[in-house]
Subunit: 291 residues, 4 copies
């Protein structure tokens, strides 16, 4: 990215601080808002109130997710609560804003105010990059929770979306026997084509007793008590699906089956990489929009 | 597939004969039409004229492509020309027909006659399976046309669609340094995520001098004289894109660059696998349609 | 293993308890000695003193290592100290004994007493199996100690022995750029042949600044202060070489380079797999010796 | 290789011509002997008789194999027969000579004459590099001889030496299910550790019916009539073992099993790479000998 931009980073955790540092290191002007309790990295300017946000920046960056309670900005480093509505009202017409996990109502609001609003999670480039630390984090989790190795073990990955695809590739790369489940005939063909063993998601129960490690990526109740009854002793289940996940954790506890709900892995296991993924996606957006 | 069906296989080459044999071996009733010059496999019944096609079968199977000249059935084993229009007129209402590379006008005709018409190439499952022999065939071609090994060489795959994805995976599996090019930021993210080196298709010319083997999968003029001028001595170019392909073959000849247009690889390098892919796709269609 | 044997397991930690359980589950007679403080697994008989060891068993199994202080048995679950010399004196002539990390003097003693003594670490089968959890443990360690992913990063593996070979394969399987160093031209050829980038161990210093993660497997001072001075900020060093290892940890601390000496990984990260490896090796020894 | 040497290349086929070209391109002085019928590459000097070989060169390079009939030099581009004995008599004391497949008697002769004689095949670096085109050539052979793909097929590799190891890695990289057989427990452990399925070579017959493609690397009669009787219809056997190989080809023909004896693959499928491997090995020898 040769052109230099001005960025306002508004709210967020360490990942946003890392992002600020990366952007500043590339020579851009970077301003931090709603992060008074953090130490601004070298070359980044700490701003004390959000009123100056009405000065147009090339790009305003909100966190992922932008809000947790649907009302206020996700800003753990701020001493104040900032209402999302107030924030959006402060932006100038034509302002480019990038944020994560936005509600439809915000897009409507942005549309009416002439704000160019982008959600990371609508971007294929970001969701792919974000799947890398999720897949690695799932492997790290399985390695640390089991008493054996992944090499040579039967591993099942439920769902062949972004995370499923990368997780299968990495598990095979470690020497595991990889099974993957899906529902669509096209996905099942891909599973075969990559050399994994295909399973129909509706028939998991028939072969669930074979697996040493089970990774779920589908947000649907797929590993219920009835499936858990057949799970191998010493098996481990890693649920990667967003809340409420796909595993009946109460039943698992009762049946003494080891199961973990591993959420928000990118920020936890690889905050630096997560910040780099944000930066790359922001650059892609800006170059596509011809900024 | 537990249920038994009756199939009419109408026209086609050895791949369709292999398909007839596979279906018969699974216990289905199989009839051959417009293939009088072939030897019917065990358990397959040779029919001498197509008039009896008006008897409804569970499924009528035309070849891939169903027609080459847009008028008559692709039937190299027949002594007669059969018009596609006459053929479709013979089918009963409600008849399921599966064929390949169909024109839109045939779908219209089928719609008006109440025929349930399916094109293999509209099916993700088939196109994925069909990419496997294409990718292997491309590798076989590169191995036999070059004086060196693929292991350790710089290979470029242009385009990250079905064939591109599988070809990259197999080339890396053989120990090559794999570069892949695409235009969309999402595809470029996938290329990185799988561990290949990403390149923007519009910038191929900048690094084309680095590559020992170049595989093109995009049907657009990407390797023109101006790119060929930079290609390494002893490099090899394998063009997999359908006619007219993406390589200026005249310029390549003139510049003494080795280049091959490798077309219709599945039927050539793996006819048996190609027939199995058709069979699996037909079973998928029938089970989805609740036949 | 169809034939049934009688085993005496003498000393050791949880790995030996797991081993006892595995052997008992296969239908063998298993007796525990010098493990009074442990709970004997189902079907395993707890013995209170070692005097009955003079009753010949098909195989007596000592831990790995058999002794830590060169004098007494490694027996953390025992209330008593047992001298290695006394132990060996108790064994009958012709007794088969398997143990780990034995001193030459014990082999001499065994030779004079007609004891058939085997060291796990002399067995290629065991050292290979034991390298699997070491390689996985090293990866788990790197994943948890770094703030980024392994995918796409430059990883160096110093030494291309058992652990080096498997570690390289697994790192590449995770999508890392793998460099490996060795000294012998044959090993360097293997590194190239497998598709990793070869480096001469004597020249590590020239390219050490390139690496995000460095794994050392060679027990020699290779990562000294002078090499550490060139190591990238944020890089991570995982030393797998037995004590004193190959890294100057004092210098690393001073230079604020993150470095870990990861020892005895099989027992720590995969005690169950470690017990299975012992069992398989014991079966191999017994079948080769025609017991 | 910064230092410049003088090389005499004596006899051999296109591979030696390629080698001459590579050495000349690196700036060395290169002279061709016993190759009068070939065109010397740029910068290489054609010599008409071997008498001048008594002028010491830094290194004299004979072909691989140096002789086919055990008496005369392997020199298809020469108009004359040159006796190996005469040739060796012509060399000066202290002369470095590199050649391939030498008989013990020549080493004796060399020892007595003070000639420093090296055989490529004694070098681990060369045999590893030479295994790469052998493994790729075996795959190319299987791809072209079968009517199906390697992806998803059951492939057996008999023997886990240099070629076996690389062939297994490449077959898995193409998506095959890889089985490998060996006799030593250490090799079987390696097979497991790399994630292939291990088989004892003595028990091949028990599972030979499972395999779609069988590669033999062991020069011993392992695929006899009794094994062939169980081989799957449509299976393909590729024998890579040096003559007489490991397959009963007469029985295979009789039983209509497709089998090929694929010999001398490096020179056939990758002559340029084969020349590069020779060059690299020669440089390794010269640098180790402190020339």
């Amino acid at each position: 990215m040769e052109k230099k931009f001005s960025f306002a980073i508004v709210g967020g955790d360490m990942r946003q601080i890392n992002l600020a540092e990366l952007l500043a290191r590339d020579g851009h002007d970077v301003f931090l808002y709603a992060m008074e309790k953090s130490n601004a990295p070298d070359g980044v300017i700490q701003k004390n109130n959000i009123s100056s946000l009405s000065n147009k920046r090339d790009c305003i960056i909100l966190p992922l997710p932008a809000t947790i309670d649907d009302k206020t900005l996700n800003a753990p480093f701020s001493m104040h609560k900032t209402s999302i509505d107030d924030l959006f009202s402060a932006f100038s017409t034509g302002q480019t804003v990038i944020a994560g996990k936005l509600k439809n109502s915000l897009f409507e609001k942005a549309g009416r105010s002439g704000i160019r609003l982008y959600d990371y999670l609508d971007r294929e480039d970001f969701t792919v990059l974000n799947s890398i630390p999720t897949a690695e984090g799932a492997i790290e989790c399985a390695m640390s929770e089991t008493k054996t190795v992944l090499s040579g073990r039967n591993c099942l990955v439920i769902g062949f979306g972004h995370i499923g695809k990368l997780l299968c590739a990495k598990l095979r790369g470690l020497g595991a026997n990889v099974y993957a489940s899906a529902r669509k005939s096209g996905d099942l063909a891909w599973i075969s084509a990559y050399g994994y063993k295909p399973l129909h998601t509706a028939q998991i129960i028939d072969s669930i007793a074979e697996f040493d490690v089970i990774f779920n990526t589908v947000p649907a109740p797929l590993i219920r008590r009835e499936e858990l009854l057949f799970v191998k002793q010493n098996a481990f289940i890693c649920d990667l699906a967003s809340k409420p996940g796909g595993v009946d954790f109460d039943a698992a506890r009762e049946l003494e089956i080891s199961a973990v709900h591993a959420l928000s892995l990118p920020g936890k296991v690889a905050p630096l990489f997560a910040a780099e993924s944000m930066r790359d996606t922001i650059y892609n957006i800006l170059s596509e929009w011809g900024n």
